[in-house]
Symmetry: C2
Subunit: 147 residues, 2 copies
């Protein structure tokens, strides 16, 4: 009922290199070794790895993930610390979500413009304004106007 590193890599979608790197970085202290020094991943290990990926995918730093894993290894006494760490991280994720949503709106605004029937006219207008700005400031026009 254990998996080799290759199997674990396949199941997690991480590369073998990454798994070893994570282990080296102290993220996988729970992974046991067999008599030959080979890693043996249990299902429980994969669950923990899943949590690690979850934190990594939300841009938690390796060092912070290590802190979290250290708490987990220390048992139920560290529930409060885990909660504090995750709560702080949660706020960052929510903030990132908000920023992403806002930026997406702006990208969509541009996309709508480019997709509109009068896209070329609107882009020409934008360009005209930018050029006017330059002119007003007595600066050279950097745009390669071919029309």
């Amino acid at each position: 009922m254990t998996y080799t590193i290759k199997e674990a890599a396949k199941k997690t979608g991480l590369s073998i290199y990454t798994l070893r790197f994570y282990d080296k970085s102290g993220l996988l202290p729970f992974v046991a070794r067999n008599a030959s020094g080979y890693r043996e991943f249990t299902d429980g290990d994969l669950q923990l790895l899943h949590t690690i990926c979850c934190l990594k995918n939300t841009d938690m730093k390796i060092a912070d993930i290590r802190t979290y894993i250290t708490y987990v290894m220390q048992g139920p006494d560290t529930v409060k610390q885990r909660q504090a760490l995750l709560a702080k991280h949660r706020e960052k994720v929510v903030a990132k979500q908000a920023q992403l949503a806002q930026n997406l709106q702006e990208i969509d605004y541009k996309l709508d413009m480019y997709r509109a029937p009068d896209a070329v006219a609107r882009v020409k207008d934008e360009l005209r304004l930018a050029k006017a700005d330059k002119l007003l400031a007595g600066l050279a026009d950097p745009f390669q106007a071919t029309h």
Copy 2:
């Protein structure tokens, strides 16, 4: 009606270093120089910089932003290319949003557990299962159980 690099930095929230780095990287071909070689940012430049930040904040690679800016510099003929580039990027952003939402759910699940009145009991249970996995596989228990 122009801004120095310091003012542009303040207005964009980027460091002066970053602005110069972006310029070096080909992201700011539109920024003019005065007789002394100093950069002069117009309001139009700041708008373009805003777009650049938007793309950067949604994890577009510098090289791809440069491609986009190159299109912009080439004028209205490149509307189709801009659209294709942004459309592709949009999909990545949407995918990232979905992943973030999913990961947030999992973080919230953990947080709920840690915040529950019976948090310690539930964590102990989790731990018990992980230990059982190890035992079943004939592996050592890596958890520092102090209870």
